[in-house]
């Protein structure tokens, strides 16, 4: 009988204790973050989407070589002498037209290995993490700043320059051969 | 035809149709559920007769008690037991004769009786009178019934416990 009354009392008492706790929680500010409107602040070193600052890129291809999953593809075209590509923010002279800089972010494993070898610190991880797409192809980010026409132009320029150089070389070689033929004993340096 | 007539025919139709389903349905669960509508319709008819307390008792005892028990029984035993529950029609001719005679008897009584009808609105509540009558005039029967129910309750409990020990 005594146990019975104790049970009854405990049942009511414990329910009241529980209700008190939940009642208190009514006034605790909510921990919900309303996600698309409000975002949780990210820590400084987060690794999310890759970004390439093309102004600084010298097209050295080191990041592509460092990538363990081969998600970076770089194609470059050498600049021809009269063109001035300017300098990077760190003062390095740029010598290559970067005609293609594709990062397939779907393949990316966010290892950050491409970031370390970059001599100009132009490739880095950003804190943006929402980049879902409907098409898988849309996940290939094209960072190259040149338009296809420009690319063609640069390529043509380079080929022309190359051809000119070849021609010059050939002419020089021919001249040299001729000179050699003319004055064999002198050892002239070109 | 006033409102009460409509309500009467509604409940009468409900009672008769669902009773027909009870009798003719081959599915025993359907029959049991139709019985519920029959009982409910009868309770509605009680209300129209001015017997409000009886009507509510009809619902609470028949639908809330007996019918639920019946349904439990049907549902729990329907496919467990090997007993075949026959739901077909047998011995049609003798039954037709008996129901015909009985029906004729009922109809003749119905037409022979002089029904006294009172307007159904503002019927006095039967509650007070019923309670007084039960506890004064019929108190012995009332107490005996109480005893009977108690005995039935104890008996049921003892039967239920015996199996476990």
């Amino acid at each position: 009988m005594k146990q019975y009354l104790i049970n009854t009392w405990q049942a009511i008492y414990t329910v009241l204790v529980g209700m008190k706790i939940t009642f208190k929680h009514l006034f605790v500010p909510s921990v919900t973050i309303q996600y698309p409107d409000v975002k949780q602040p990210m820590v400084d070193r987060v690794r999310n989407r890759l970004f390439v600052n093309m102004d600084d890129c010298i097209g050295c291809d080191q990041c592509a070589r460092a990538c363990p999953v081969n998600c970076i593809e770089i194609e470059t075209v050498k600049s021809v002498p009269p063109e001035d590509l300017g300098k990077t923010s760190q003062g390095k002279k740029k010598a290559l037209w970067v005609t293609k800089f594709d990062i397939d972010i779907a393949k990316c494993c966010y290892c950050s290995l491409c970031v370390y070898p970059c001599p100009t610190d132009c490739i880095y991880m950003t804190d943006s993490y929402e980049f879902s797409e409907f098409e898988r192809n849309d996940l290939i980010y094209k960072f190259a700043t040149l338009t296809p026409e420009e690319t063609e132009e640069k390529k043509a320029n380079f080929e022309k320059f190359q051809a000119e150089k070849e021609a010059k070389k050939a002419a020089a070689a021919a001249a040299k051969a001729k000179a050699a033929a003319e004055s064999k004993p002198d050892d002239k340096k070109e | 035809m006033n409102l009460y007539d409509y309500i009467f025919y509604l409940f009468a139709l409900l009672t008769v149709v669902s009773a027909l389903v009870v009798v003719t349905s081959k599915n025993i669960v359907h029959a049991a559920f139709s019985l519920m509508f029959t009982l409910f319709g009868i309770s509605g008819l009680y209300v129209l007769l001015g017997a409000d307390f009886i009507a509510v008792v009809q619902i609470i005892v028949y639908i809330g008690g007996i019918l639920i028990l019946l349904l439990f029984g049907v549902m729990l035993t329907n496919k467990i037991t090997n007993v075949e529950i026959k739901t077909g029609t047998i011995k049609t001719i003798p039954m037709a004769i008996i129901t015909g005679v009985f029906g004729a008897l009922l109809i003749s009584i119905m037409y022979g009786t002089k029904w006294s009808s009172a307007p159904p609105d503002n019927m006095p509540s039967t509650l007070q009178i019923l309670g007084n009558t039960l506890l004064t005039e019929y108190v012995l029967i009332f107490e005996l019934l109480g005893m009977l129910l108690l005995v039935a309750l104890i008996g049921a409990a003892s039967i239920a416990r015996r199996g476990r020990e």
């Binding site: 529980g18 919900t32 | 359907h30 619902i59 809330g64 639920i68 509540s125």
Partner: protein
């Protein structure tokens, strides 16, 4: 009410139909809309969340959107169900819980049926819900549904006993079965409410208070069980039975079960209010009386009734998000070993006190 409507419309039958449908459209549907939202918001706040915030300002239109979704949803009837019973069950369940509103006095001006059997009728008609739940469980032809409905019915029938015993206590105290008469006896100020000893006077009134409190707690616990709310929600225990007897239902049929559940929640709260907390009466007298506007009184009464009823619904939600679910044997223990003996003792003591 009927007379006024008959005068306006001219046709008695139409007036009756409108008067009967009034609580549904004026009260239950809006209440269910608000209560579903409140349920989600209360649960959210108790768990330090925000709850629905997207639909409308502060998510206020969430339930409206939900209803629209439910209306548009495909009505799936699984191939092996018992089609007739499957379609009938939600109607039966809703009819049962709606019929209970006929005997609940919303204000002194509106009561569905002022029949003397009031509260007794409510107990009786809720057995239609029981039958409907059994029907749904059986017709679904699904183990979980059948188990859920069996549990539900066993639970409702068991907990009807302590509830009926407490109602009997209150009937003995007030001497009437009619809820509106019971309410009228608790008029004027809050110390006339039954929980504070009702209309009794002197020492008896003070002696009655603890027993009224016991009666109230017993009735509230058993009413929780009768509407299948946590901690007594084993009929629809999500972790064990998917959703109990309405597992197979979708679209509007599911919505009817849902509506019936919320209607039931309010119905039992309304009964608690009418039995113990003065029904539609204001705790501190009426403004309408003070400034002499007669028609204001029923409006105030409706307001107080809604406030009190909603308060007990909120307490139901509060309990839901506080307590874990009981096991079946614990459920039956609570009912048969604790509530019923206490209710009996309470009945006897209150009976003696009333005779004093």
């Amino acid at each position: 009410m009927y007379e006024i409507l008959t005068d306006i419309i001219g046709n008695q039958i139409v007036a009756y139909v409108i008067a009967a449908a009034l609580p549904l459209f004026v009260f239950i549907l809006p209440f269910a809309l608000v209560a579903v939202l409140a349920e989600r918001k209360v649960s959210a706040f108790m768990q330090d969340r925000l709850g629905p915030m997207r639909t409308g300002p502060y998510g206020l239109l969430q339930t409206v959107a939900d209803i629209l979704k439910l209306i548009q949803k495909e009505d799936i009837v699984a191939s092996d169900t018992d089609k007739k019973l499957f379609n009938l069950a939600p109607i039966l369940v809703f009819a049962g819980s709606y019929a209970a509103f006929a005997a609940i006095p919303f204000t002194s001006a509106y009561i569905g049926s002022s029949a003397d059997v009031g509260i007794f009728f409510i107990i009786a008609i809720s057995s239609l819900v029981v039958a409907g739940i059994l029907m749904a469980g059986w017709a679904s032809n699904n183990k979980y549904s059948l188990l859920g409905s069996m549990r539900s019915v066993a639970q409702i029938i068991s907990y009807e006993i302590p509830a009926a015993l407490v109602i009997l206590t209150m009937v003995m105290l007030t001497g009437t079965l009619s809820l509106s008469e019971m309410t009228e006896m608790q008029t004027q100020y809050f110390w006339n409410w039954n929980i504070f000893g009702g209309a009794e006077t002197g020492i008896v009134k003070i002696l009655l208070i603890p027993f009224m409190l016991v009666g109230f707690i017993i009735f509230y616990i058993s009413s929780l069980a009768e509407v299948n709310r946590t901690p007594f929600d084993i009929p629809e225990a999500e972790s064990e039975l998917v959703a109990g007897y309405h597992t197979e239902y979708s679209g509007m049929k599911f919505a009817m079960f849902f509506l019936a559940e919320y209607a039931n929640m309010f119905a039992v709260s309304a009964i608690v209010v009418a039995l113990f907390f003065g029904g539609y009466h204001s705790p501190f007298g009426y403004l309408g009386n003070a400034i002499g506007i007669d028609w204001l009184i029923p409006v105030e009464q409706l307001f107080w009734f809604t406030v009190k009823g909603t308060f007990f619904v909120i307490v139901q939600m509060w309990l839901r998000w506080t307590l874990p679910r009981l096991r079946v044997d614990q459920l039956m223990n609570v009912c048969w070993k604790y509530l019923i003996p206490y209710a009996f003792v309470n009945l006897i003591i209150v009976g003696i006190l009333t005779l004093l």
